[in-house]
């Protein structure tokens, strides 16, 4: 703990990133009860009004909906989907990658080929097509499909860290003691590789946000009326020259969240890997 504080003191940028991230989490939890407008309310008098008109702090979009309210509500879906995705894809990646690396026989060959096949299609295109075909995305389908698209990456990392640990003496002695494979994999090896896996999971969090925002932008993210930052950008893009605020604020919201998470994950990797 004191080591983390020591590292924090040396990285003012990391403090900033973590503060922004915490701020967004607080906004997602308590924000909706603080904004005066609902995210669906259409103010027919104030369409496309600039910042600060009639209590619309960040202005309104072309249907007269409050931009601030939509950004605040939208933070919930993007944060929860991205968080769930990074956890799910890491867990699945660890299970698959560990099994492949541990047994090293035909399972490993099948694993490597299967990953090559999934990797032959760009993750964004894969998720886009599957979600587009299924239609009406929910938090569940969005999380599941983006996680599957990420598995090749996370599983390869997990397999790599397992292979570096596999021939250590403590694994040998566990094997001689007669422990079963599951025990060796998850009770003996997993705790020793936790650092690398946490680093992978936090980096995955940044990519999940990028991916979920892009899918929302392409219209296969959370479906209306749930506000989605990516979708707000594409909805209001045609009016960008009259009302830049309607596009710029959701874009800045994504940018600030993504950059904060990137700084955070960079810091985590410094503390957990390079720092030791």
């Amino acid at each position: 703990m004191s080591y983390i504080l020591f590292q924090l003191k040396r990285n003012p940028l990391a403090i900033l990133g973590i503060c922004i991230l915490i701020l967004w989490i607080i906004i997602a939890i308590v924000g909706p009860s603080l904004v005066p407008f609902s995210y669906t309310e259409m103010d027919s008098v104030n369409q496309l009004v600039p910042m600060g008109t009639d209590g619309h702090v960040l202005g309104t979009d072309n249907l007269g909906r409050d931009i601030l309210a939509r950004i605040v509500y939208g933070s919930r879906s993007i944060l929860s989907v991205a968080l769930l995705t990074s956890i799910l894809s890491t867990v699945l990646g660890v299970i698959i990658g560990f099994s492949a690396g541990y047994f090293k026989t035909i399972i490993d060959t099948i694993f490597l080929r299967a990953m090559d096949i999934i990797m032959s299609i760009p993750p964004l295109v894969l998720s886009l097509v599957v979600l587009g075909i299924l239609g009406d995305s929910t938090i569940f389908s969005l999380t599941l499909i983006v996680s599957v698209a990420f598995i090749p990456a996370t599983a390869k990392v997990a397999r790599g860290v397992l292979l570096t640990e596999k021939n250590q003496e403590y694994v040998m002695s566990a094997r001689i003691r007669g422990e079963n494979h599951l025990y060796i994999m998850f009770i003996e090896i997993l705790p020793n590789t936790m650092g690398s896996i946490i680093v992978e999971a936090t980096a995955r969090f940044a990519y999940s946000i990028m991916m979920v925002a892009s899918l929302g932008f392409l219209g296969v993210g959370m479906q209306p009326p749930t506000p989605d930052w990516g979708m707000m950008v594409i909805e209001n893009k045609p009016v960008i020259s009259q009302a830049p605020w309607a596009v710029l604020f959701p874009a800045l919201a994504i940018a600030s969240l993504v950059i904060a998470v990137s700084i955070f994950s960079d810091f985590i990797s410094k503390v957990l890997i390079n720092g030791r």
Binding site: L124, A213, I234, I240, L248, A251, I254
Partner: protein, 322 residues
């Protein structure tokens, strides 16, 4: 040299196997899309008899494997079928022009981000922990996971709305070609550059730092050679190698990014065509687009892989890789 040929043959073999399985997955994926194809063609008012007749003609009653075989064997011969939404239009007549546009855009982005990120990556690496390094590293970190449409919106706001020097949308006017409208390429290509810069420059930086700390560089410097000479003659050769792999690995992001950027700017490429196909539920067009993206992507991955093997003397001369 025979090692290289062996590697190439192996890669091409894997490529074919991968493409065959992937094409089957793509086919199944699109087939399970809810909705009846015959109903989509004839509309809601079609009678049961005419639907059955059309299914018979189109071979929709045949088993899945038969239909897959028909589709893939025609695709290999260059016939991608007809679009469902634009009735009776051959996919070949729309797709290839779009593919050309996308490749031009990708190549433009490539020409911008590769030299830029290698240059700044090397600069940051040789000035490790100095101010210019912190600045470049922060910029790379910030843009690394920034979605292309966000950087695109920022670019549009500055260059198209405020300064009004470049177009907001990248459409080609009817009757004109891309070559008469080259200025529409600038903003989309720059939006892609942002993301790629993050990855590539960071990778380049760490590989330069690695090489600069190695013994042979230290002895070259201690021997009294100028730092500039050591960097350009000794360090760069080895420090560029990992970057090639990273560029190749990120081609996937580049193709995903094309879909996003083309949608943002309305650029008439393969990505925006795929979006239209998904929106209009045009099954054959979705299959054709995804198949083609997979082929182009796999090919570029394979080329990077071969290039890496060729440039790496350890593999070129010894056969067994490290």
């Amino acid at each position: 040299m025979s090692n290289i040929i062996e590697i190439i043959l192996k890669r091409v073999g894997t490529l074919f196997a991968t493409l065959l399985i992937m094409s089957f997955i793509i086919f199944i994926l699109v087939e399970i899309m809810p909705g009846d194809v015959a109903q989509m063609i004839l509309g809601q008012s079609a009678t049961e008899e005419s639907l059955a007749a059309l299914r018979e003609v189109k071979g929709l009653n045949e088993p899945l494997l038969t239909r897959y075989w028909k589709w893939i064997s025609q695709a290999v011969q260059g016939d991608l079928g007809e679009s469902l939404y634009m009735k009776g239009v051959a996919i070949n007549s729309i797709l290839w022009r779009r593919v050309g546009h996308s490749l031009v855009l990708a190549a433009t982005a490539f020409l911008i981000f590769v030299p830029l990120s290698i240059f700044f990556g090397v600069l940051a690496g040789v000035r490790e922990k100095k101010f210019s390094d912190s600045l470049i590293s922060f910029f790379g970190l910030a843009t690394m996971a920034l979605p292309e449409f966000v950087s695109g919106i920022l670019l549009i706001t500055v260059f198209a709305v405020k300064l009004d020097v470049l177009p907001i949308v990248s459409v080609i006017p009817i009757g004109e070609t891309l070559w008469q409208n080259l200025n529409i390429l600038i903003l989309p290509a720059l939006s892609i550059t942002f993301v790629m810069f993050g990855y590539v420059s960071r990778m380049q930086r760490s590989s330069v730092i690695n090489v600069m700390n190695s013994d042979y560089i230290r002895s070259a410097i201690l021997k009294g050679m100028s730092k500039r000479y050591v960097i350009f003659r000794h360090a760069l050769k080895n420090a560029l190698l990992p970057t090639i792999t990273i560029i190749g690995m990120n081609m996937g992001w580049l193709f995903g990014g094309l879909v996003v950027v083309e949608t943002l700017f309305g650029y008439p490429g393969m990505g925006s065509l795929l979006m239209t196909a998904i929106r209009t539920r045009d099954l054959p067009l979705i299959q054709a687009c995804v198949l083609l993206i997979t082929v182009i992507y796999s090919l570029s991955t394979m080329i990077t892989d071969i290039l890496y093997n060729y440039l790496n003397p350890l593999i070129r001369f010894e056969g067994e890789g490290v």
